[in-house]
Symmetry: C2
Subunit: 263 residues, 2 copies
């Protein structure tokens, strides 16, 4: 079991209740990363489902939970011949922190019937660059869990040269060797710095809603995360992330709606 598997482990209490222990190692400067929290929720949902893959997850982020014990409460909504639908709530001290609607199904190995091309071409991994290590007191512990190698123009904001467009693109893998799986993908879709940094914005950008779909099981190796926004308006922005695997398959699609940080 990898550290990530352990940090997202959900232990069955009864049919609709799972215990999780939220790991301080997935902090993004205080709050825990939303993708990490989704992964923990999905462990419980998948364990309780007759189907093994979380094909669709819509999560609403109500509050930021603290590291430590928490529960996932499940409400089965429907089980059909191809899919199960479940409501899942992440609860801490009897309050709801994340609400999610999840559809599980079992993906087969069928090849794509039709696939669009990647929206952007990535430079080779050797030409991509890591973020500098976070400041020791910043509590950005998430960075140590994963390797992100960025398409250089999309982190120009680090040196005062934002590209002017909401975008972020990187190669991604876990720091501890682990083949990507659907739970790693839940982390991956929320692993990039907010795309608005590249449009000249800074500051904490809380996710309000994030929906992602698992489209295929990822092949081993690096993933490519391609993030972009369509609109920054009225204090809100969207962030679309496509995840491609090492064999060139689109394996996940996500979109989040988030608030602009006060910068």
């Amino acid at each position: 079991m990898t550290k990530f598997d352990e940090a997202t482990q959900a232990i069955r209490v009864d049919e609709t209740t799972y215990d999780v222990c939220l790991d301080p190692g997935y902090s993004i400067g205080g709050p825990l990363n939303g993708g990490y929290l989704m992964a923990a929720i999905l462990r419980a949902v998948v364990d309780a489902s007759p189907y093994v893959h979380p094909v669709s997850t819509a999560a609403q982020f109500l509050r930021a939970p603290r590291p430590g014990p928490a529960r996932v409460r499940l409400e089965p909504l429907k089980t059909g011949r191809t899919a199960t639908m479940t409501r899942a709530t992440l609860v801490q001290d009897d309050a709801a922190y994340i609400e999610a609607l999840v559809t599980t199904a079992t993906l087969g190995g069928a090849a794509s019937e039709w696939a669009g091309a990647p929206a952007v071409a990535m430079p080779p991994v050797e030409e991509c660059v890591a973020l500098p290590d976070p400041k020791p007191m910043s509590n950005m512990t998430l960075n140590a869990q994963m390797r992100l190698l960025f398409d250089p123009p999309t982190i120009g904001w680090l040196t005062g040269e934002p590209s002017g467009r909401p975008e972020s693109r990187a190669y991604f893998r876990m720091a501890e060797p682990q083949d990507p799986d659907p739970f790693v993908l839940a982390l991956a879709v929320d692993a990039l710095p907010p795309v608005v940094f590249s449009a000249g914005r800074r500051g904490w950008a809380p996710t309000v809603e994030l929906t992602w779909h698992l489209r295929a099981l990822p092949a081993p190796g690096w993933l490519i995360l391609a993030g972009q926004g369509r609109l920054i308006r009225d204090g809100w922005f969207d962030e679309d992330v496509e995840v491609w695997d090492s064999e060139g398959n689109l394996v996940a699609q996500s979109r989040q709606l988030a608030r602009l940080g006060r910068s």
Copy 2:
């Protein structure tokens, strides 16, 4: 009050219960249109919220409700300084048909800080074409409620010439004169024929999950609906719809995950 306003009316029973009457005029050959059902749910959510705009809606489609009386049950999840989060369930005969997680807020009139260009250019409205009237016994009553004028290549499938790509683009307005508002947008994001028709597929393509975000209040006039898919695989496809208003603003973004019809 327009016919659409009436058909989506939600009458308050108590703080968390609203009565709706599902109108047979929004049928797509039997089942009712998912966008219409979302509009009815959102009437209840917005009425009960201190904020007036449904900025984010994630809906999971469990079962297809019948025309006639139904209820919307609300569960308030959180009210903050900028937004309220609510769970809403469409109920008929004590069973849940649609589960939704909705965030309401109040959009100001702020201009875009950054906006991407439309993904595709539409031909002028005069060069676009309507679908033929549905067969009298087909129960496609939805078509009479709205005007859709299609970019011709994207309905080539009608005459045996699908474009080969999952896509659908059209001008949209209500048949009865009505300025677009957020409830009309809820209908609009699910108003196009499935994008997979254009990739050579046919048949009933049930939506499993649809998330849409209201990004700005639409100006009066025609809307443009630009729909496309990224991947058809393993019995599933995605449909992304952007809605642009007559002043060239992106006003809504949606993505649905749906099952391929058996064709």
